[in-house]
């Protein structure tokens, strides 16, 4: 079989197009990782266990301390990574007139859901926030331009903006973690800096009630999977298709 130069070049060109096309289709069709894939960090929360120590804020204090979260005097300017929100606010679609008194008006821990399909990542115009292969939604505080589009896009209110310089409001200052500047967005990072050292997230480690369980959702033998197997759990606004990685036991 003989090939003239023209046919050969044509075939090369077509193959290159096919390869590029396949890559493009594959990147569009990427599904969230499933069993046997890479690690997928997630959290399971037991709100009723949490209520047994109502008034305890150990996890919040530990997170704020670990991440230099400022305590601003005005509510409008507050920055939060993990905090308590009344059950009805966290789960507006679950609350009813007859919601168990056990939960009605009671505080529930909320923070970034580290979604499989995070709208915040989709809208960011500078890729200053992105999703890691292990599911953690990250922030680059040096790239963020402070447009707050991600805050508008987050259906959980999990993101905070630094309306003023946060540094005067950080007590005590930790030298282990960067502080932020005014004009950038921040949120929970699932303690990726501690995970890198093989430690559990600060909130999980600080809780004496074992309210928070952290682990690999892709590992069928993990503690989080065991909890999800044995008890019924709900997620915040699942109908939006964001696929949160934070579960609440009921």
């Amino acid at each position: 079989m003989t090939l003239d130069r023209r046919t050969f070049l044509g075939a090369v060109g077509l193959s290159a197009l096919a390869v590029a096309g396949r890559a493009a289709v594959a990147s569009l069709a990427t599904a969230p990782e499933r069993e046997g894939g890479a690690r997928r960090w997630g959290m399971v929360i037991d709100p009723q266990m949490c209520l047994k120590a109502e008034g305890c804020t150990d996890c919040i204090a530990a997170c704020d301390k670990a991440h230099n979260v400022p305590h601003l005097p005005v509510r409008a300017h507050e920055v939060r990574w993990i905090w308590r929100e009344p059950f009805e606010n966290a789960f507006p679609d679950q609350a009813s007139r007859y919601t168990a008194e056990l939960l009605r008006g009671k505080p529930v821990l909320v923070f970034c859901n580290h979604c499989d399909n995070p709208p915040c990542v989709r809208v960011c115009p500078t890729q200053a926030t992105w999703r890691r292969a292990d599911g953690i939604v990250m922030m680059d505080w040096h790239r963020c331009i402070g447009c707050r589009y991600c805050v508008a896009a987050c259906p959980y209110g999990s993101r905070s903006f630094n309306w003023v310089d946060p540094r005067p409001y950080i007590r005590p200052l930790s030298l282990e973690f960067p502080t932020r500047t005014k004009g950038v967005v921040e949120k929970c990072n699932f303690c990726e800096e501690r995970l890198a050292k093989g430690e559990r997230p600060a909130c999980v480690a600080a809780c004496r009630q074992k309210v928070l369980t952290f682990g690999d959702l892709n590992d069928p033998g993990s503690e989080v999977r065991e909890l999800l197997r044995s008890r019924y759990a709900i997620r915040r606004k699942p109908e939006l298709g964001t696929e949160p990685a934070v579960y609440y036991l009921v």
């Binding site: 509510r75 409008a76 300017h77 507050e78 920055v79 929100e85 009805e88 606010n89 966290a90 507006p92 909320v110 709208p119 989709r122 809208v123 960011c124 115009p125 500078t126 890729q127 200053a128 790239r143 963020c144 331009i145 402070g146 447009c147 707050r148 589009y149 805050v151 508008a152 896009a153 987050c154 259906p155 959980y156 209110g157 905070s160 903006f161 630094n162 309306w163 003023v164 310089d165 500047t181 005014k182 004009g183 950038v184 967005v185 606004k237 939006l240 298709g241 964001t242």
Partner: protein, 387 residues
């Protein structure tokens, strides 16, 4: 450079007006320096109401910019000769409005010195990236078109042939800028006030009403101040466009209200309730929103009556009402209303602060200064031809 010499000769009144605008710009500039130093905390914005006056002005002005297509399309595609004298005015209005949009986005940034990161890390999944692309393109298109056509007019020759495809391109481009701006909001899960496919059509209808209304008012002011006459026919045709677009806009709003309140989905109703009657005792915008409704109804009553529409005084009144009504609707209610209640159900009032209003006024003054200078140039060219 681009006939700017024509803008530096003018009457005492002209210079007094320029002086007033510069004073407003200077005041706002000082407010901005303060914002740069302290942060966006000097505004009335909060962790619940993330965007306010700045982004709302941006949204409204994208509409004004897009509305230039309402004179460009009839003139270039349908050969409506009546618009011959005002087409370039529409394009200059678009240039000024897009420039204001850029400034409003800029002052809203938490880290303005990093704004070029949008170019450094282009992100096609972000509607903000596409908004930047479409607005920049639209600014360039209109700048080239206005420069080329006006230069040809000054020389008394026909514009070069290559400009026609550029002008034709500017027509769908104008539609695109406001569509993409609507997509900024209408694609966000969990913001039910904006989560409607009707948002982009609604944006376009309100733009094609408020923009030509402003153009009518500007040409009227020019006739009074300078003797430039846009022509009776042009005004009549523009007023028809304002009327139809306003009707379609009101129809769209009513369609939205039906869907929201007949379905009775609480999450969707809450935003309208906050705007018009208030929630949990917070009703900062109710007075404004009802004013907008009354102005819209009143303007339509005037515009739909041929006698009032053809009378210059009542037409001016109607155009003023249309502009103000839609400014309240888009420049106040639409953005703030989308943030309250928050995804966590919090109801937070938003009231702009004095420095925030100062910065906003300064950007409007920049826009007015641009319009003044551009229109002065355009008029001088025409007076030169007549004289």
């Amino acid at each position: 450079m681009f006939m700017f010499e024509k803008a530096v000769v003018g009457s005492r009144r002209y210079w007094a007006w320029i002086g007033v605008l510069l004073a407003v710009i200077l005041t706002g500039g000082l407010c901005y320096l303060r914002q740069l130093q302290v942060g966006l905390g000097i505004t009335g914005l909060s962790r619940d109401v993330m965007w306010g006056l700045y982004i709302a002005q941006f949204t409204f002005l994208v509409g004004v910019a897009a509305s230039a297509v309402m004179v460009v399309l009839p003139y270039y595609l349908h050969d409506w000769k009546a618009f011959g004298r005002i087409t370039v005015l529409g394009e200059f209005l678009a240039i000024s409005a897009v420039s204001m949009c850029g400034l409003f986005i800029f002052v809203d940034m938490g880290q303005p010195m990093r704004v070029l990161n949008v170019l450094l890390y282009p992100t096609p999944t972000s509607m903000m990236f596409w908004d930047m692309v479409s607005l920049t393109g639209y600014l360039l298109l209109n700048a080239v078109i206005a420069l080329v056509t006006l230069t040809a007019e000054e020389k008394g020759v026909a514009p070069p042939g290559w400009i026609r495809p550029v002008i034709i391109l500017s027509i769908p481009w104008a539609i695109s800028i406001h569509t993409v701006t609507a997509f900024l909001y209408s694609g966000l899960p969990g913001r039910s006030f904006w989560l409607t496919a009707l948002l982009a059509p609604r944006f376009l209808a309100s733009a094609f009403s408020s923009g030509p209304a402003l153009l009518i008012l500007l040409t009227m002011a020019m006739r009074r101040l300078t003797g430039f006459d846009a022509g009776r026919e042009a005004t009549e045709k523009l007023s028809l466009i304002v009327t139809y677009a306003m009707l379609i806009n009101v129809f769209f709003v009513l369609v939205e209200v039906f869907t929201v309140f007949y379905s009775r989905i609480p999450e969707h109703m809450a935003h309208f309730e906050f705007l018009f009657v208030g929630l949990h005792g917070h009703a900062p915008l109710a007075v404004w929103m009802w004013t907008s409704v009354v102005l819209a109804a009143g303007s339509l009553a005037l515009l739909l009556t041929p006698r009032f529409r053809s009378n210059e005084k009542t037409l001016a009144l109607a155009c003023g009402m249309v502009f103000l009504s839609l400014w309240i609707d888009k420049g106040l209610g639409l953005i703030v209303g989308g943030f309250v209640p928050s995804p966590l159900g919090h109801v937070t009032s938003y009231v702009p602060t004095a420095p925030e209003i100062g910065i906003t006024l300064a950007i409007w003054a920049v826009g007015l200064l641009m319009i003044t200078v551009f229109y002065k140039i355009a008029l001088s060219v025409r007076e030169g031809l007549a004289g």
